[in-house]
Subunit: 453 residues, 2 copies
């Protein structure tokens, strides 16, 4: 019997995160102050973020950053996650490609998000923070953060994108089971929310909107800090446990990936899997391809422009170097809520500019078609976000079949879709729209956001 | 760092199931024909069940039964499942007890049910069966069976208990994603269903009702057999992979359980975990306690009587030796749909009569209280069924604390509750009733069902 799942023992959980900033030839551009246009220092971020996270955000010198013991102990509740050979999917595609996936869905909260939530809650506790605020799209990050706060004895307030709050009531219940306070965003509880609702009472929310509300609450509440589940460098850093484990597990399988694929919202699961392998491309010239799979309705990497933009809709955050569709971009109500964000993180933006990675966009129906095939062959119902990575993987595997090439493909199964069955329901009923965004709309949003290439 | 999760490598997946019938001193009473009162032979079961399963059902001689290679290959998609030390829960309870759980919730369909679904679908395929029918309560079994049918190329028709069909629409969607046809039961599609609906149009369904419908469809459809997810000996047999793994894993942890606990519906997850340990009690006189945790609203083991009864509401099945509340018993609409069944399997019935195991009943609110504490300390939201095992475990752990005893408790986390968040919602809102069943009602149902002690 061929090995299906490659499992590392508990003592092989990585002891350090991998900080690609140290190895990048062209460093990611720093965040800058909107008024002065001066690069920000870590201290400038302390009022909003935990200090440890702010320091990690701008750390360009340490290649490896030790994982604190208490974080490791919590990682041991679910890590290492399995690396799985997708024999069932390969057979259904009749492809000579070898397909592997890193199964972050076995994680108790259902996605990779817990990897950073635990770290951020730990640092907050260390620094005497009593309350954390955050935003969540599909609810994966919010669920992870709610649990992480509970185990470290911190109060959590989560702004949940309104369309997801309505589409995914059960993710909201998960957060509430962990004791978090959950508010649909835009809400009337913040200035930013009130402004948005006044201008557009039917606003369905977006990650950009929810970030504005969470940041505003943190700025106005003593003992309260803000945490983010993607985009930022320190979040991507925490996620590198995924790729560091996968590296060892691919070695157990006796292979090295030719292609590494992950879905792309802000970059957390993509960076988590890809960066440890990217290191070998940068340092040793490995020819690995890296593919970020984004939704056709929110195509910042394939159709956005590179520039400085706000991370949130209201413009509270520093300006970040991004590929962006404009911070006012209002994505269609696709079910992959975690991918409905206008910009990429600065690390990914730089890697894309430098030609070290690629991006593809996937239509909503194609993503679910891929997800159903994966479920029926591998027995795991993938999160709508992860379906994008699967669709991109299937495209590559079919290309291998045509070309008669036996490539090794590794993708990230960032989460399961058991709390997203209403989306599958709609797909099976033929009710989903593809929601690709017209070029003219992108141009309009970019102009509105003041972005020029 | 203390080890949290004990993981076996893939080559340690058990190669054989453990058949406790071979070791029982007092054998379970055989199924009998309702009219002739004669014990049934395996051949008598062939018209409804797959032959291999019928043979296993009555096999009292082979202690171990080899697991076919193709079943092992499918087991490798998710097994071995982790044995976990519940440090978080222990700390919250401040108990000297050591608490372990076997985590069957990491299984891709979310519960232990897949262990038997794969085996039954495999045998059906081997025997040229093209269609399988079954019943499902909460939907765990139906989801597992739908997937198992899909991977072996068999059509699946699932009768889902109506109250669960309505309360748990997402489990229904999971089955449909795997291509199964799902019908709420009682339905107008069978004689049994029409009779029940005519007599009681508001009938909310029960496992007994759904079994009648599924059996009727199998009897009237060429190429179609019936499969069951619990109660029967061969189902319990397939589930013993749980306990066989747990045995090795407890050895890795350097402990042996003083107490083994599982929730109890028909007996599948209980037998799966307990029987391999029960063997050492029978053969070597180990003092292990075995506790089945059933809902106060469906207390067949604690308040039912031992006797021969039908397995289904309509009386299509053979008479089975059971602890039963009467086959007409109509359980309250608790959220633990998988525990809403009137009788125990024959093996458990005999073990209980022989004093080799115990049973406790748990009220609905107590089960969810335990489930929330477990979620907040261990990070996994348990299935409403599994919450009963957790509540019983907590009771034992608190007893240890009072007595100052450091016992080792092992329980089965049979499934996760991510598709049951509406139940948690109701619990958090204070909307759940305890629904313990009055003794007078039990007496009435027993009389109606023609059961005497």
């Amino acid at each position: 019997m061929n090995t299906k799942r490659f499992i590392l023992p508990e003592n092989e959980i990585p002891r350090e995160w991998y900080n690609i900033q140290a190895d990048m030839v062209n460093k990611p551009l720093p965040p800058i102050h909107p008024a002065t246009r001066q690069p920000l220092k870590a201290e400038d971020l302390y009022p909003i973020f935990c200090k440890a996270c702010a320091d990690q955000e701008l750390n360009r010198s340490d290649r490896f950053i030790p994982i604190p013991d208490e974080v490791l102990e919590k990682y041991s509740y679910y890590r290492c996650t399995p690396l799985v050979r997708a024999y069932g999917l390969e057979k259904a595609l009749d492809t000579p490609a070898h397909i592997y996936f890193k199964n972050e869905s076995v994680n108790p909260l259902g996605s990779h998000k817990l990897n950073s939530a635990i770290a951020q809650a730990y640092y907050a506790k260390q620094e005497g923070v009593t309350n954390l605020t955050t935003e969540t799209g599909a609810g994966q990050w919010g669920a992870a953060m709610s649990y992480a706060c509970k185990i470290f004895g911190i109060e959590a307030a989560v702004y949940m994108v309104k369309i997801s709050y309505e589409q995914k009531p059960y993710r909201r219940s998960i957060m509430q089971t962990f004791g978090a306070q959950v508010t649909p965003s835009p809400s009337m509880s913040t200035k930013a929310g009130r402004k948005i609702l006044t201008e557009n009472p039917m606003h369905q929310g977006s990650l950009g909107t929810a970030i504005s509300e969470a940041v505003e609450l943190a700025m106005n509440t003593p003992g309260c800090k803000y945490v983010l589940g993607s985009v930022l460098n320190h979040v991507c850093l925490h996620q590198t446990v995924i790729g560091l484990e996968a590296e060892k597990q691919m070695e157990m399988a006796g292979e090295y990936p030719d292609t590494v694929i992950a879905c792309f919202g802000g970059g957390s699961n993509f960076c988590g899997l890809a960066m440890p392998f990217m290191r070998h491309k940068i340092l040793e010239g490995r020819k690995t391809r890296f593919i970020a799979a984004e939704p056709a309705s929110c195509p910042k990497l394939t159709k956005g422009v590179f520039g400085y933009d706000f991370g949130d809709e209201a413009g509270y955050t520093p300006l970040l170097a991004m590929f962006t569709l404009g911070h006012t971009f209002r994505p269609a109500n696709i079910h992959a809520g975690g991918l409905r964000y206008h910009g990429s993180g600065s690390i990914v933006a730089q890697l894309l500019r430098d030609g070290l990675m690629e991006a593809v966009d996937i239509k909503q129906n194609d993503s679910f078609k891929a997800g159903v095939l994966f479920a029926q062959t591998e027995g795991i119902i993938p999160a709508p976000e992860s379906c994008h990575a699967i669709a991109a993987t299937i495209n590559e595997a079919l290309r291998c079949k045509e070309a008669g090439e036996s490539k090794t493909i590794l993708f990230n199964l960032s989460g399961h879709g058991l709390v997203d069955m209403s989306a599958y329901n709609s797909y099976l009923a033929g009710d989903l729209v593809d929601a690709a965004v017209p070029d003219a709309d992108i141009a309009r949003y970019l102009k509105e956001s003041g972005i020029t290439e």
